[in-house]
Symmetry: C2
Subunit: 228 residues, 2 copies
């Protein structure tokens, strides 16, 4: 039979205008430095709808969704404001993250396959003792991938979903936390220990290591990040 593969247009933007506006706004907001003193924090419905070339209706629905997620705050007859998270809120988010990823590690001990756990090595081993090769920006990406892998290995999609939404907010202060060589080295060491615990199928240890690792980040932010 003739294998005539039809190029179906799934790549093209056939989503609703609301969905497209939502993605565009979310991307714009999460990528801007909202903590800069001169950051533009106020949005205007009519202006935005004109920019996107859509009417206010779908745009409003997108903004309402962002409002619920806590990225913006819609105030009747006042305006729409990009939300600056307080330091306390960020710390609380990291704490919840610690609880979720800890549970994920616990679950992974019984849910993850040996292959899945072995694959974690690839995200850590490259950053062994060679501090020079450890480009910090690159490590930052590998670090995120490592943690998301653990969340994924739990086999509980809800954990991953909640953690993702939290990460969205914590990201905003990421630009303000400088990763030092020393902290990165300890981070790599922590990750190796975590993999060991997973390989040993020791849920209590895996949970504790992951939780303490994330809480170290919490303490670091509490001490050295200055927002508010």
């Amino acid at each position: 039979m003739a294998v005539t593969s039809i190029k179906i247009d799934l790549i093209g933007e056939n989503q609703s205008l609301k969905a497209r506006a939502y993605e565009a706004l979310k991307s714009a907001i999460t990528n801007m430095n909202i903590y800069d003193a001169d950051a533009q924090l106020k949005l205007d419905e009519r202006d935005l709808s004109a920019r996107f070339g859509i009417s206010r209706t779908p745009l409003r629905e997108a903004l309402a969704q962002l409002d619920q997620e806590g990225l913006v705050k819609v105030v009747a007859r006042r305006g729409i404001f990009i939300v600056r998270k307080t330091k306390a809120e960020v710390l609380d988010m990291i704490t919840v993250w610690a609880a979720l990823e800890g549970m994920a590690a616990r679950l992974a001990c019984s849910a993850a396959s040996a292959d899945d756990i072995a694959a974690l090595h690839r995200l850590v081993d490259d950053y062994g003792q060679d501090e020079v090769a450890m480009r910090l920006g690159e490590y930052s990406d590998a670090n995120i991938t490592f943690h998301q892998a653990i969340l994924s290995l739990s086999g509980n999609p809800l954990i991953q979903g909640i953690a993702d939404s939290l990460f969205l907010h914590v990201r905003a202060i990421r630009n303000r936390t400088i990763i030092e060589q020393d902290r990165a080295k300890r981070s790599v060491a922590d990750h190796k220990e975590i993999i060991e615990a997973l390989e040993a199928r020791d849920p209590d240890r895996a949970e504790r290591l992951v939780r303490e690792h994330t809480m170290k980040l919490r303490d670091h932010v509490e001490r050295f990040v200055d927002i508010d």
Copy 2:
């Protein structure tokens, strides 16, 4: 000076139509038995807007919010459907709940005052050995209050917020889980142990007890609740 207290109308419904529609729909959906075979799971925008006496616009925004929370699913040109959670999803929710409340107990060991912890006794001690007096419906309420108290004692509002939204969904299957005398008794015993751990300011033990307690519920649902 004359103490003329002005009765400000805060009780009256001065909220937006969207907010009122949202509350009304949320209440209606979470209180109905969506797992009944003959439950009406489809909604219609025009019909609802006529019932509420509002236009489709604010109603749609309320529905969009419920959609994001996972209570309904809006499908373009098909309809709006009340979502039945699968058993796997409910189990995942309870697992996340266990992680959150475990972390809450851990935090409470350092954040809660002695008075706050002492107040927990009131929610448990009444249901001592007197099984006859232990009215199961009444216990169910006290049980919920106890767990929400622990979430609150963590001092982390985010934990409480996420747990609340999870509870909204788990509630739907509550009607289908019969609380037996025996399980309730063991639950009370667990609660007493948890209070002890909090009083001893033992975060590891408090976390473990709370987590295991909630995971018992998870196992119970997995074994005895039949949905899907």
